[in-house]
């Protein structure tokens, strides 16, 4: 087997040195009746060429985003990632290193984590960011638990603009951890009355902006009301590129900011691995989940970096830890950091303007299609349209025509009549004039 360096001679010699007759003597503690005599019932070893053939055949059955006019978003976005990024994250020294528990020989990882934390803090305009979470949805769940620790209350109020699957993650975690969740009904236009839901028992209010439906939400009044009641505002985003153009949640009074960072540096990957961004105020840093990297000096006074404040973490605190999390999303966070280093604020601003311009152009064209109504007045690169028939059928019909048009809300919110005709459409820098024209033309045919 090509990954196993021992030869049969090695094995025989080594067994002799260990002082046993056969390899099975080393497995003698496994109860005899369950010890397997033969390999399990699966195919035998396969050559590299053959594995490549079989997996390529599976991959070929799928329709990649780059191969068609593509407008699917709703929490994951198709962006162009510079070739430099993928090359660098495949450097052996990054790819095959472990968590930097020995800082003297992992300064590479530690320094980029420090750069990443700085980037996230500045993008969100918050005091501190951690070294990443699994993704935006699990980060949101952790943010709610953190708010419970900070406020010593147990009720979370979730906006109807929160991504439905994020909501499900929070609800699941909260139910299991004896928390209480008030989830407001779906709010495509950002007109819900969330302020009246915040009371003296509220631990946190969770608001996504731009929302799942694309609507940009004014966070300031929500932050003010939350603070008046002693609650925290958790601001969520799924499209980090939006921070290049719309006001940072930190500026609007958010106490915890959590978001999905996939758009920068990371591919679609059918939903994972992604990278969760998580930032908060200085005063809450010791209640934060996840890893933190901090600056220090070595014995010769040279600047260096270490994992720090680990007394919050499970390997030290065990059942008293702030979270059970043991890993971050290291390599995805490296991809984010590299892409962000290339962009800088100048590039991010441009990228965001291109995204918005493409969305505005698409919106205008879709609005000309008979029976189609665009629901959002303020949006970034994504918005919701109301179609004259069920969105799921329209999306399937468009897919058959080679156009991936967006996400039918009913896929995530089934059985709700008012949402059945809604379609969430995203536009990014990858879309061309031709893509938009093809989408609009095909939509007209499907709706005719």
């Amino acid at each position: 087997m090509r990954y196993l360096p021992l030869t049969d001679t090695d094995r025989a010699d080594m067994l002799a040195k260990v002082g046993v007759d056969s390899i099975d003597d080393l497995f003698a503690d496994i109860p005899e009746k369950v010890r397997l005599k033969d390999p399990v019932d699966l195919p035998k070893r396969t050559s590299e060429m053959q594995v490549e053939r079989q997996l390529s055949a599976m991959a070929a059955k799928n329709t990649p985003a780059s191969s068609v006019p593509f407008f699917v978003g709703a929490g994951a976005y198709k962006h162009h990632v510079p070739a430099t990024v993928d090359h660098l994250i495949q450097r052996s020294e990054f790819l095959t290193s472990y968590t930097p528990y020995q800082p003297e020989i992992t300064q590479g990882t530690l320094q980029y984590l420090f750069e990443f934390q700085t980037q996230v803090a500045r993008l969100t305009n918050m005091d501190v960011a951690n070294a990443s979470m699994y993704d935006g949805s699990t980060g949101t769940g952790e943010a709610v638990l953190m708010a419970h620790r900070v406020t010593k209350r147990k009720k979370a109020v979730l906006s109807g603009g929160l991504h439905p699957q994020y909501r499900e993650v929070v609800e699941g975690l909260s139910n299991m951890a004896d928390g209480q969740v008030v989830s407001l009904p779906a709010d495509p236009t950002g007109t819900e009355d969330i302020l009246s839901q915040i009371d003296d028992e509220t631990s946190c209010v969770v608001v996504q902006s731009p929302s799942f439906y694309g609507q940009i939400i004014d966070l300031k009044p929500i932050a003010e009301k939350a603070h008046e009641k002693g609650a925290l505002l958790i601001a969520v985003f799924t499209e980090v590129v939006s921070l290049g153009l719309i006001e940072a949640p930190g500026t609007q009074g958010a106490d915890i900011v959590v978001g999905e960072g996939q758009s920068i540096g990371n591919g679609l990957n059918f939903g994972g691995p992604y990278v969760g961004l998580f930032a908060t105020r200085q005063k809450y840093v010791r209640q934060m989940p996840g890893r933190l990297c901090g600056e220090t000096v070595d014995a010769e006074g040279k600047r260096g970096f270490v994992l720090t404040l680990s007394t919050r973490e499970q390997h030290i605190r065990r059942d008293k830890a702030t979270s059970n999390i043991c890993t971050n999303s290291g390599l995805c966070c490296l991809a984010f950091t590299i892409h962000m280093s290339l962009l800088g604020q100048t590039g991010l601003g441009k990228l965001a303007r291109i995204n918005h311009a493409n969305a505005v152009s698409l919106k205008k064209q879709l609005a000309t299609v008979s029976g189609v109504e665009v629901l959002n007045k303020a949006y970034f690169n994504e918005f919701t349209v109301k179609l004259p028939k069920p969105a799921n059928d329209v999306v399937e019909a468009l897919a058959a025509k080679g156009i991936l048009a967006g996400v039918p809300v009913s896929r995530l919110e089934p059985g709700k009549a008012s949402l059945e005709n809604l379609l969430v459409v995203a536009a990014t820098e990858v879309n061309t004039d031709e893509d938009r024209a093809a989408f609009v033309a095909a939509l007209k045919e499907v709706l005719a």
């Binding site: 196993l4 360096p5 021992l6 067994l15 497995f27 369950v34 390999p39 399990v40 699966l42 396969t46 594995v51 599976m58 799928n62 329709t63 985003a65 709703a74 994951a76 510079p82 990054f94 290193s97 472990y98 930097p100 020989i105 700085t118 500045r122 501190v128 070294a131 699994y134 949805s137 638990l145 499900e168 299991m176 951890a177 153009l245 719309i246 006001e247 940072a248 930190g250 679609l268 990957n269 994972g272 901090g294 070595d298 010769e300 499970q314 059970n324 999303s329 290291g330 590299i338 800088g344 604020q345 100048t346 590039g347 441009k350 303007r353 291109i354 970034f380 399937e396 897919a399 820098e429």
Partner: protein, 530 residues
């Protein structure tokens, strides 16, 4: 100076002129000092060529960003050089033996990377119509099949994003099963030798953690377990047990433990961190396990990536299978069906909820399946055997001069030493580990498991050749003898030769500096500045 066949100097010690210049840059040839990106990037620069849109009309509703971001941009060559230089300050599996016990630092085949980057896997959206991704569902289903067959189980929750997330998923399934039966037990049993994530997970779900002691041989004390169960009769939700355990030993009484827990009305959660020792040799399903996460990044070679992303699918017994979270793939006569919402569930399916948005770590699924297919059932079994053989080879190479806490018995895939061999030498476990760095090795896991004083847990994995193990053993012996001879200087200040000397972790925690702020905090070239 000549080299021996292993590439080591034939004469240790002073090999002549030891003059080391103080350089102007602080660099030491290939060992470069590298500033932070913020210290040399330009705010008005970008390394990505983007054209401003032809026309720009704002429909942002007055929410334009007014706060400056404050992030500098770098040109492509600068970016490349910066991260290449950083990478060279990292130890990695690809550069040397990485014997971190419990972490399983095995070879990461590049075929896996290539497969995960096929556009049909890497460039598909989690919410594009299922009809446009049949191959993705097929891949997930195929990996699920391989995982179920190797573990002897009939269901698997694929979506957890890492090992600890898998633990959470498994324990949530257990809680859901109790709730469905109208039970509310409060206690989860966790052996003292468990990973910290186990008690943290149980506590997160509101369970009270009760610790179970170990016998002198390092395995769970069955008598103590029985007493604890009796004491909390009717109140046991389950047990979280690592097997092989964190002492590198297979829990011989595991089937009795499973029976006891089941009789007490509880479920058996197995931490699968060490499953790599027994793949193809035993199936956790046959041992009475109800739920076990599999760290794809340990057992099935997906890269650790400097701390993630991981992936932690959880295999489930028939008793827990109905509660598996959304989403899952259902096999029907018509093919594979993606079930994402409760509306789509049918009788017998009672998902407890959802662990994450979308479908889990697809990129890791592709890599793991590529690895499993490459090995095949015979190769997977061989890999476990080699991992166990290598660990025992290291054990017999060192047991006469290091100390085994549980006697000279065979271990599984990792060997646990304690620090009694360092007694009265003036060298601590930490010092000893840091001296390994100067020898070109990543230290083993230290001070874990907590049940052994000064624990040193060595896991060589099946990826090491006999020659590599021989050199490792010889190096360790040299270090041990050096410590025993009282050569404390080699240890107390170690590492001397790494990119950094020991770092001030206490200072870092006392006054945390968690991001860069202007002006630049320290001299970039302290050596030259003297």
């Amino acid at each position: 100076m000549s080299l021996n066949k292993q590439g080591r100097p034939t004469q240790a010690g002073d090999a002549g002129d030891s003059f080391r210049p103080t350089t102007f840059t602080g660099n030491r040839a290939l060992d470069m000092e590298e500033p932070l990106i913020f210290e040399f990037g330009r705010l008005d620069y970008t390394g990505v060529d983007l054209d401003e849109p032809d026309s720009f009309e704002s429909e942002l509703g007055g929410h334009e960003r007014k706060t400056e971001i404050g992030l500098a941009g770098l040109a492509e060559p600068e970016t490349m050089r910066h991260y290449v230089r950083l990478s060279r300050n990292n130890y990695a599996i690809d550069s040397g033996l990485y014997p971190l016990g419990s972490c399983t630092m095995k070879h990461n085949p590049r075929l896996n990377e290539k497969m995960a980057r096929l556009p049909g896997f890497g460039d598909i959206h989690p919410l594009q119509p299922a009809s446009t991704v049949p191959g993705a569902l097929e891949l997930i289903d195929e990996l699920a099949h391989w995982l179920m067959v190797t573990t002897g189980t009939s269901a698997v929750a694929m979506s957890p994003k890492a090992g600890a997330h898998g633990e959470l998923c498994g324990m949530m399934a257990i809680k859901a099963a109790h709730t469905a039966k109208g039970r509310k037990p409060e206690i989860v049993l966790v052996p003292e030798s468990a990973h910290g994530t186990n008690p943290a997970t149980a506590a997160l779900l509101g369970y009270k953690v009760v610790s179970i002691g170990a016998k002198d041989d390092g395995t769970v004390d069955l008598g103590a377990l029985k007493e604890t169960i009796a004491k909390h009769d009717g109140n046991i939700a389950g047990i979280m047990l690592t097997n092989p355990n964190t002492c590198g030993l297979f829990e011989r009484d595991i089937m009795e433990i499973a029976d006891l827990i089941h009789e007490a009305g509880g479920y058996f959660y197995c931490d699968g961190a060490n499953f790599n020792a027994i793949v193809g040799k035993a199936r956790p399903g046959d041992l009475g396990v109800d739920a076990m996460h599999i760290n794809l990044h340990k057992t099935f070679s997906t890269p650790h990536g400097g701390g993630g992303p991981g992936s932690g699918p959880v295999v489930l017994s028939d008793r827990l299978a109905p509660y598996a979270p959304l989403p899952f793939i259902r096999k029907t006569d018509a093919g594979l069906e993606l079930v994402e919402t409760e509306d789509q569930t049918t009788d017998g399916e009672q998902p407890f909820g959802r662990m994450t948005a979308f479908h889990g770590q697809m990129g890791m699924y592709v890599r793991a399946l590529s690895y499993m297919m490459s090995h095949g059932s015979d190769g997977l079994r061989q890999a476990s055997e080699d991992a166990v053989l290598n660990a025992n080879y290291v054990r017999v190479g060192l047991q006469d001069i290091m100390t085994l806490p549980f006697g000279e018995n065979p271990c599984m895939h990792e060997v646990l030493f304690d620090d009694s061999f360092l007694k009265d030498t003036g060298v601590t476990t930490l010092d000893f580990a840091k001296a390994m760095i100067d020898e070109g090795y990543h230290p083993m896991t230290m001070y874990f498991p907590l049940v052994v004083h000064g624990a040193m847990l060595i896991e060589p994995t099946e990826s090491e050749s006999r020659a590599a193990l021989d050199l490792f053993v010889a190096t360790m012996r040299d270090l041990v003898m050096s410590a025993k001879r009282g050569e404390t200087k080699r240890f107390e200040g170690a590492p001397y030769l790494a990119p950094r000397r020991r770092l001030d972790e206490t200072g870092a925690a006392r006054k945390p500096v968690l991001k860069w702020t202007e002006p630049a905090p320290a001299e970039v070239t302290p050596v030259a500045a003297e």
